[in-house]
Amino acid sequence: MSVVIPSPTNTSRYLQTTIIAARYDGGVVIGSDSRASMGGVYVSSRVINKVVQVHDKIFCCMSGSLADAQAVTNAVIHKLNFHSMQMGEPPLVQSAASIMRQFCYNHRDELSAGFIVAGWDRKRGPQVFEVSLGGMVVEQEFTIGGSGSTYIYGYTDAKFKPGMTREQCLSFVTNALTLAMDRDNVSGGVAHLAVVTESGAERQLIPGNKLPMFHRI
């Protein structure tokens, strides 16, 4: 990935986001910021929701070129729906990740978008997958992505523990998003969260002024 020089005339939209998903005992928490910027200088949308529901209990987060990400996500929703109807049962999270990967890998020369796929299914419970730029799929306990994620590698490495409760996981994801949004100029706005468990999916929105405050250095 080449370095993008911020300027108003550079309208490419690379990796301008912070996305995160984490697994806890019983479900997953997925979160993203809400800023879309052009050239790293102009905020083209301050309320965009990068957490997209691809099925009842499967969500995905977009990063990278938002146009590419939206195109792929729409294609995945369509294909996953069809697959689910054929199977006659809700799809597996792994299937969603696999379909995502097919698109990303087969068109890897044209696309530049990375995803996090997370959700709950009956076979293996809560899962988090990272589908990166070229089409690699890795299952992880938690994963972070986007330009803002570089600033929180240290924090998430230190703070994540497997087998957290739902509240602990929510505060882990919220804190991580807040810290990244505080430091990354192309991430910001509100925190969009989604919690997926066996009983269903629930969306939350935390406005900017309700985000946790950290010591201002």
Binding site: I152, G154, K161, N175, I217
Partner: protein, 222 residues
């Protein structure tokens, strides 16, 4: 003259094919993680210990905490040659200034001397320096900030530092905080690694310690 020409030819060779390894012609750089935290009565500074030329680790036990005066240190990041040269010049200038004044120099003076050098030659240099120390007037003082991080590895720990720093920490807490942050950065940054070198500077003097790789604080891995 002859060496300069040979270097150019080597660079051309290495850039045009993959048979020549990149460390033959790459500049020696301290892509690094450095950090300094102020506590009541002093300052704790820390750095990793890796110096690289391209992908080769030229020195895995580098000391990037350079004394400039009895109670003033600098943490160096960027080009190893540039920062060593600047540090040598400032050490000389500060020593002279201190003799003229007949008392230990202020940390702010040291920082200003660094600033003069880095700014005047900013086109030629590549250096990121944290100046930290203790002086009689301001106590333990990091220039203008209670916490500072620098180097290529620092981007990975902004979130950790923002969330874990609290004002009024004791010296031990500062040491643990710095060691923890440096370990996390060294885990993620390819250009930082080796051992953690710490120094705490206060009115009573300078205490140095080294934390070896296998003794670094561990965090739960995912």
């Amino acid at each position: 003259m002859a060496t300069a020409m040979a270097m150019n030819r080597l660079q051309h060779l290495s850039s045009s094919n993959n048979l020549v390894p990149d460390w033959i012609s790459q500049e020696v750089s301290t892509g690094t993680t450095i950090m300094a935290v102020e506590y009541d009565g002093g300052v704790v500074i820390g750095a990793d210990s890796r110096t690289t030329t391209g992908a080769y680790i030229a020195n895995r036990v580098t000391d990037k905490l350079t004394p400039i005066h009895d109670r003033i240190f600098c943490c160096r990041s960027g080009s190893a040659a540039d920062t060593q040269a600047i540090a040598d010049v400032v050490t000389y200038q500060l020593g002279f200034h201190s003799i003229e004044l007949d008392e230990p120099p202020l940390v702010q003076t040291a920082a200003n001397l660094f600033k003069e050098m880095c700014y005047r030659y900013r086109e030629e240099l590549m250096a990121g320096i944290i100046v930290a120390g203790w002086d009689k007037r301001r106590g333990g003082m990091l220039v203008r900030q209670p916490v500072s991080v620098g180097g290529s590895g620092s981007t990975y720990i902004y979130g950790y530092v923002d969330s874990n720093y609290k004002s009024g920490m004791s010296k031990e807490e500062c040491l643990r905080f710095t060691a923890g942050a440096l370990s996390l950065a060294m885990e993620r940054d390819g250009s930082s690694g080796g051992v953690v070198r710490l120094a705490s500077i206060s009115e009573d003097g300078v205490e140095r310690q080294v934390i070896l790789g296998n003794q670094l604080p561990k965090f739960s891995s995912a």
